[in-house]
């Protein structure tokens, strides 16, 4: 199935009916999540600042998830040299970078009232900066090499190497003692959060996930089309 989809034609045919559904789900979930976020009660400790959580945590999750998508696609692009995998890696970079930047910005906005500082250099925060840097390096490398095949290979190696940073981001809170919250949701003992806050968080998380999926698929489809256009232009020039 996965390998069947690696055929660009089949991929286009399969995803075509999916696109409106995914976009609609993303918009609907975002609206619902926003509503839930502002109807949820204030946290007894964090008061109204808890509402930053509903944009901070999903952004952080998706910053990580998009890198997983990028790294795994890079792996397939390297091993099977498939153009679709390369398109997928490329399409994940920009949304991933934006989500990571949002996690940094909203975290910083949350840090000032909670920790009394915009920024601290602890392991979690620094490793997220490094994650952002990997995104920047990936995009810069792609943009700077204009032989597309060569750019794809180099970027794929970098994307793969960058995967080592993910466990550092994820487990930094456990390995080093930091100011930042340890995982309260994705942990072995189950979530430790009241349902009143868990529901909007989960809905927003799902919404971000859907939005990323929609962006990702759209960009992959655009990339497939772009390459077709380039090939057709070349053929036209050849015949002329």
């Amino acid at each position: 199935m996965v390998f069947g989809l690696a055929n660009p034609d089949r991929f286009m045919r399969f995803t075509r009916p999916l696109m409106p559904v995914v976009w609609a789900a993303a918009v609907g979930l975002l609206l619902a999540g926003t509503w839930l976020s502002f109807t949820a009660p204030e946290d007894y400790q964090q008061l109204d600042t808890v509402r930053i959580m509903f944009v901070h945590v999903p952004a952080a999750w998706l910053g990580l998830a998009a890198y997983v998508a990028l790294g795994v696609s890079s792996f397939f692009a390297l091993v099977f040299r498939h153009p679709l995998a390369d398109a997928a890696a490329r399409a994940a970079a920009l949304p991933g970078a934006v989500f990571t930047a949002l996690a940094l910005a909203t975290g910083s906005l949350w840090g000032k009232p909670m920790w009394g500082a915009w920024w601290v250099w602890d392991a979690r925060l620094t490793s997220v900066v490094v994650l952002f840097l990997f995104y920047v390096a990936y995009m810069a490398l792609r943009a700077a090499i204009d032989d597309e095949a060569k750019a794809a290979r180099a970027a794929a190696v970098l994307g793969l190497v960058g995967l080592v940073n993910l466990p550092i981001v994820k487990f930094s809170v456990d390995w080093w003692n930091t100011l930042h919250q340890p995982a309260s949701l994705l942990r072995a003992e189950g979530p430790s959060m009241t349902a009143a806050h868990l529901t909007p968080l989960l809905v927003m998380g799902l919404a971000y996930m859907m939005l990323f999926t929609a962006l990702w698929l759209t960009d992959i489809r655009t990339e497939v089309r772009r390459r077709r256009v380039l090939t057709m232009r070349a053929r036209a020039a050849q015949e002329a």
């Binding site: 915009w118 920024w119 601290v120 620094t126």
Partner: protein, 206 residues
């Protein structure tokens, strides 16, 4: 001076090439400011006093990194012959190249410097002062750096030689720039130091 404009346009397009110039400069800056706390430990009491200085060093090093190729490439690929057969004397060519280098790399770096300093713990109130001194400082770096790059031309060792030639030249801007910050910090007027800093871009023509 229309020849100067023509050259400036070309140099800018070479420096910004592919739209990545300023982005890369800022990415570099970001990476460097992320490395510092890792190397020196994240303790704010340790970082705060050196924050301004470190932003300055990062500025100097980023300028340095981008300077290396400034003349070396033109020399190796024969473009310098072409430039030498043009209407401007070589000194003017060097100055225009340095200016373009500053516009494409130094300017965005100077804008990023206050952000980096604040991230390392400097007081946000100093942002305008840091910006101003970084602007002047990067201009100084660009011109002294171009001087060093021109001197190291045709040598075999490239980058490091430029570094060694240029770093001593960088010291005055660093002293005056960081000095302005420190004087402001201790309540003194930063203007004399800033004035001296503003004078360094002219030093190659002393």
């Amino acid at each position: 001076m229309s020849a100067g404009r023509v050259l400036l346009k070309r140099e800018l397009s070479l420096a910004w090439g592919g739209g990545g110039g300023p982005l890369l400069a800022c990415g570099f800056f970001l990476a460097l400011t992320a490395i510092v706390p890792l190397a020196a430990g994240g303790d704010p009491r340790v970082l705060q006093p050196v924050a301004g200085g470190i932003a300055w060093i990062a500025l100097a090093l980023a300028s340095l990194l981008s300077l290396e190729r400034l003349f070396e490439r033109d020399f190796e690929d024969g473009a310098l012959d072409l430039l030498a057969l043009g209407p401007l004397p070589l000194e003017a060519v060097f100055a225009v190249k340095a200016l373009a280098q500053w516009l494409a790399i130094g300017l965005p770096l100077a804008v990023a410097a206050p952000v980096a300093a604040i991230a390392l713990g400097a007081d946000p109130g100093w942002a305008p002062l840091i910006l101003g001194s970084a602007l002047l400082g990067s201009l100084g770096f660009a011109f002294t750096g171009a001087l060093g790059a021109a001197l190291a031309l045709g040598s075999k060792r490239g980058g490091l030689l430029i570094a060694v030639v240029v770093l001593p030249l960088f010291i005055p801007p660093v002293i005056f720039g960081a000095g302005a910050l420190e004087q402001a910090l201790t309540g003194l007027s930063p203007w004399p130091a800033l004035a001296l800093l503003g004078a360094t871009p002219c030093s190659p023509w002393r």
